[in-house]
């Protein structure tokens, strides 16, 4: 009964929170575009459809065409797919590793914790992008998938740090002690006692990792170390700059991809704060 109430209250706050409403609707809007990209895009992203080259947005080409006469809107919606894919896989992998490392460290404690914590702190100091750049630079063929993997593999440390701290505090709570004393198996304790209390943390970590992965991917793409055979928002910006869109005034080529990334990542951050307010009643008043 009590649990039920708690759940309802959580849901209630979730739905009522303005920040979550705004954030979620932005994400859903872009996700919708990404999902229905094949329907929405009337042209192949790289097909040279407009023989007049770059043209501003029109009813035929909603976001105009590129220097080569490619449909910017088609590239945009398909690029969104890459963005969400990178966020989901890269961010998901980062969270997963972070959780495994952070949780093991926090829960086991002792020497395991010392070692894992040291590892985390070491990797934390090394600038992720520098490593990513170098790895990407030496990969012969890069797909969106490998990009996701490498972003995930380098993004976990701060997630691990946060999860570890949270596990630490949960581990010493009464209800866990109680469960231990009652002879519950560690795994069961983890799943029945600790995991539910960590959910809020996990969700928030994932959201931040999601956003971080998107930004990292955009940076890699822009520098020319993105996927060698795909379309993404970062690549669009790279091409736009390479092909002189700033000077030629082809603003429709470089504004949409950046704006979409900003909107998506911004929405994720806003959602994160919204969730924080939901999970942490003290903050609700502001």
């Amino acid at each position: 009964m009590k649990k039920q109430k708690k759940k309802n209250e959580f849901l209630y706050f979730t739905l009522r929170n303005r920040k979550l409403q705004i954030g979620l609707s932005i994400i859903l809007f872009f996700l919708g575009l990404a999902i229905f990209a094949p329907v929405l895009a009337r042209n192949e992203p790289f097909a040279y459809v407009n023989l007049r080259g770059a043209q501003p947005p029109s009813s035929e080409y909603w976001f105009g065409t590129t220097f080569f006469g490619q449909d910017v809107f088609a590239q945009f919606v398909l690029g969104l797919r890459a963005t969400f894919l990178v966020g989901a896989i890269g961010g998901g992998l980062g969270t997963l590793i972070g959780v495994l490392v952070g949780f093991t460290a926090g829960y086991r404690g002792g020497i395991v914790d010392e070692l894992l914590n040291m590892l985390t702190n070491i990797v934390l100091v090394i600038p992720t992008l520098a490593v990513l750049l170098i790895i990407a630079a030496y990969l012969e063929v890069r797909s969106i998938f490998t990009e996701c993997i490498f972003i995930g593999l380098t993004a976990w440390p701060w997630a691990a740090r946060a999860i570890r701290a949270q596990t630490f505090s949960l581990r010493t709570r009464d209800f866990v002690d109680l469960a231990k004393m009652s002879g519950m198996k560690p795994l069961k304790i983890i799943f029945t006692e600790i995991a539910p209390n960590m959910m809020s943390y996990l969700v928030m970590t994932f959201i931040l990792q999601f956003g971080g992965a998107i930004l990292n991917a955009a940076t890699l793409d822009f520098i020319g170390l993105g996927p060698t055979n795909a379309v993404s928002l970062g690549l669009m910006m790279q091409y736009a700059v390479l092909w002189g869109s700033l000077l030629l005034g082809h603003w429709w080529w470089f504004i949409p991809p950046g704006a979409a990334i900003t909107a998506i990542v911004g929405a994720l951050y806003v959602m994160n704060v919204g969730l924080d307010e939901v999970f942490n009643p003290k903050l609700r008043e502001m």
Partner: protein, 611 residues
């Protein structure tokens, strides 16, 4: 000590600035109105001379070791030429024997170090430079007469000994790029200060004459004490040469040259108009293009997509006022890996040549900035060596239907009805066409190659590995088909054919014949061409015709289009740029290796805009 000097100088300059009581305007204000510009320039001129004087005083009284190069606070616009497009990285070497890295300090060869001869691709003539004349006295002896009164910029005379010394460096050090000349060069003899003789055994005339305007002559008195490492790979940070400009200074994104007022060539060719040349490295097209439009950059040799549009509107000037706008610089060739199926089949290769939509590459990928190549691959400047009969019977053009027919005739049929043909033995054909990632014009081009080939039924996909990976595939021969344009503008068709049919076939093909086309007949033809005297045009034509006939029959690689000699300029400060309307047009380029192809003459012909 140098630091101290700079600091002292800075303080003096600051003091003089404060005394003169005016702030130096930035570049932007100079460009805005002409009247303002003039005024500004006058004050600056005064200031500059003042500063230079003070510099000299300081030098005389305190510092002996300091270089004579003055520090110019702000370059006067009417004495300075701003160029870009040659450098792709910060300056790192001024060693004239490192041609690859010299792009970053374009002018090291051409401005500082000079050659015996120059070559004018516009007229197809070798012109004398350091050498007054060069003649084959017999088949194996080449006599050179130097001009009188040649000097190095440090005042020492430039003599036949310097020339001999330079050539003999190649004999001593195999790592120097021109070392192979000693395969057929047997000795250099100095007759007197201005005369010397080269003796040969079985000379490669074509290569030799190419070398005459590519081997930079260095001063013996400064180089003879150097170690092998210094000569082959030293940075030579304070280059002393004989040429029209002196190296002044460099920063991460620029190199600065100052006119050599005592250059021997002033009396021969005239004085190059700009006193200073600032060579700017721009990483971004936007920057270069923007600067040209604003008149901040006088000449840009960057590849600037979209420049056609701006040229049409009159924002920038180009060599041609209409397509292709640019002169042609080199040939983009599609190398086919003849060791792989089905590229080992000449019939397939010829069909492919008809399947590729070159017009789209020209019009879409390059927005008309390039020209479709002659099937022989030779640049327009060498078009006199195109055999028109061979072209008429064996040439190719974009024709999807014909390509389909040729494939069918050769047994390539779509067996499994997937829209793509299978090889005569029934195996599937899945090929990749590659170029380095980020080379955006080529990336667009290979997309078109892939798409148009698919339309003809050949399953080709575009792929863009990184430069390193691409290069490994290229030289290791593991690619299917790939683009390459490494034969530079030359005085002889041999340069191109030497790249295309480089032999013998080795494990690593580093400088040509990447598709490993192994045909002794062809190799013999190219070797024969190498040994034709440059003066024997009929002989050259004959050799070229044979090469072209075999090449177009076997089609081991497909020349597609000419990459342009990218060049766009502003006439706001300097004028009299070469164009199709010039009486004696020269190459409007700053690329390294092109100064001796007329680039320097372009500077000499420039005139200041009279306001």
């Amino acid at each position: 000590m140098r630091k101290l000097f700079v600091t002292a100088l800075s303080i003096i300059m600051l003091a003089s600035l404060i005394l003169s009581g005016c702030a130096t305007p930035t570049a932007e204000t100079i460009i805005q109105t002409v009247e303002v510009e003039k005024k500004v320039v006058e004050t600056q001129l005064v200031k500059e001379t003042q500063v230079v004087k003070e510099t000299q005083i300081v030098k005389e009284t305190q510092i002996v070791e300091a270089t004579a190069m003055p520090i110019v606070e702000t370059f006067p616009r009417n004495e300075t030429l701003y160029v870009s497009g040659a450098a792709w990285g910060p300056a790192s070497t001024w060693n004239p024997f490192q041609p690859g890295s010299l792009a970053n300090t374009t002018g090291t060869i051409g401005f500082v170090y000079e050659f015996l001869f120059a070559y004018d691709p516009m007229t197809g003539q070798m012109t004398s430079w350091l050498a007054d004349s060069g003649t084959w006295t017999n088949d194996t002896t080449f006599d050179v007469t130097l001009r009188e009164g040649l000097t190095w910029s440090d005042g020492q005379p430039l003599t036949a000994e310097d020339v001999k010394f330079t050539f003999e460096l190649g004999q001593k050090y195999a790592a120097l790029w021109f070392a192979p000349v000693w395969n057929y060069l047997t000795g250099v003899t100095v007759v007197d200060d201005t005369h010397l003789t080269f003796a040969f055994a079985d000379p490669l005339y074509q290569e030799w004459e190419n070398n005459l305007y590519n081997i930079p002559i260095v001063p013996q008195h400064l180089w003879e004490g150097r170690s092998e490492e210094e000569i082959t790979s030293g940075a030579n940070e304070q280059p002393v040469g004989s040429g029209a400009y002196l190296y002044m200074s460099n920063a991460e994104d620029r190199n600065i040259w100052m006119r050599n007022e005592t250059w021997w060539g002033i009396s021969v060719f005239g004085k190059p108009a700009p006193k200073y040349i600032v060579d700017i490295r721009t990483s971004s097209n936007n920057v270069a293009l923007g600067m040209v439009i604003k008149g901040e950059l006088d000449l840009s040799n960057n590849f600037l997509p979209g420049v056609a549009e701006l040229a049409n509107k009159g924002y920038v000037n180009t060599y041609f006022a209409q397509p292709p706008y640019m002169l042609s610089a080199n040939t983009a060739v599609l190398f086919l890996n003849t060791t792989k199926k089905p590229m080992d089949d000449a019939a397939f290769r010829r069909a492919l040549a008809f399947a590729i939509d070159v017009p789209s590459i020209v019009n879409v990928a390059y927005a008309q900035l390039v020209k479709a190549a002659s099937p022989t691959g030779l640049l327009p400047s060498l078009s006199k060596f195109d055999n028109q009969d061979v072209l008429a019977s064996l040439g190719y053009n974009f024709d999807t239907e014909k390509a389909k027919q040729m494939l069918a005739d050769a047994g390539y049929v779509d067996v499994d009805a997937d829209g793509f043909v299978e090889a005569p033995d029934g195996s599937k054909i899945e090929l990749q066409v590659t170029c380095p990632n980020g080379w955006s014009d080529w990336m667009a081009a290979i997309d078109i190659i892939a798409t148009s080939s698919q339309a003809a039924g050949i399953n080709i996909q575009a792929a863009t590995p990184d430069y390193g990976a691409w290069n490994t595939e290229l030289q290791g021969g593991t690619f299917d088909m790939t683009l390459n344009n490494w034969a530079s503008m030359s005085n002889t068709p041999w340069t191109l054919y030497n790249l295309l049919f480089r032999h013998p076939i080795q494990e690593q093909m580093q400088s040509g014949n990447f598709g490993r086309y192994d045909n002794q007949e062809m190799f013999d033809l190219v070797d024969a061409l190498a040994k034709v005297q440059m003066t024997d045009e009929a002989g050259m034509m004959d050799a070229c015709s044979k090469i072209q006939e075999l090449m177009l029959t076997d089609m081991p690689m497909i020349p597609l289009w000419y990459n342009g000699l990218w060049s766009q300029y502003s006439s706001s400060t300097w004028t009299n740029w070469p164009s199709e309307n010039s009486t004696n047009p020269t190459l409007p380029t700053t690329w390294s290796g092109y100064w001796q192809l007329g680039g320097l003459m372009t500077l000499i012909n420039l005139k200041l805009v009279t306001p």
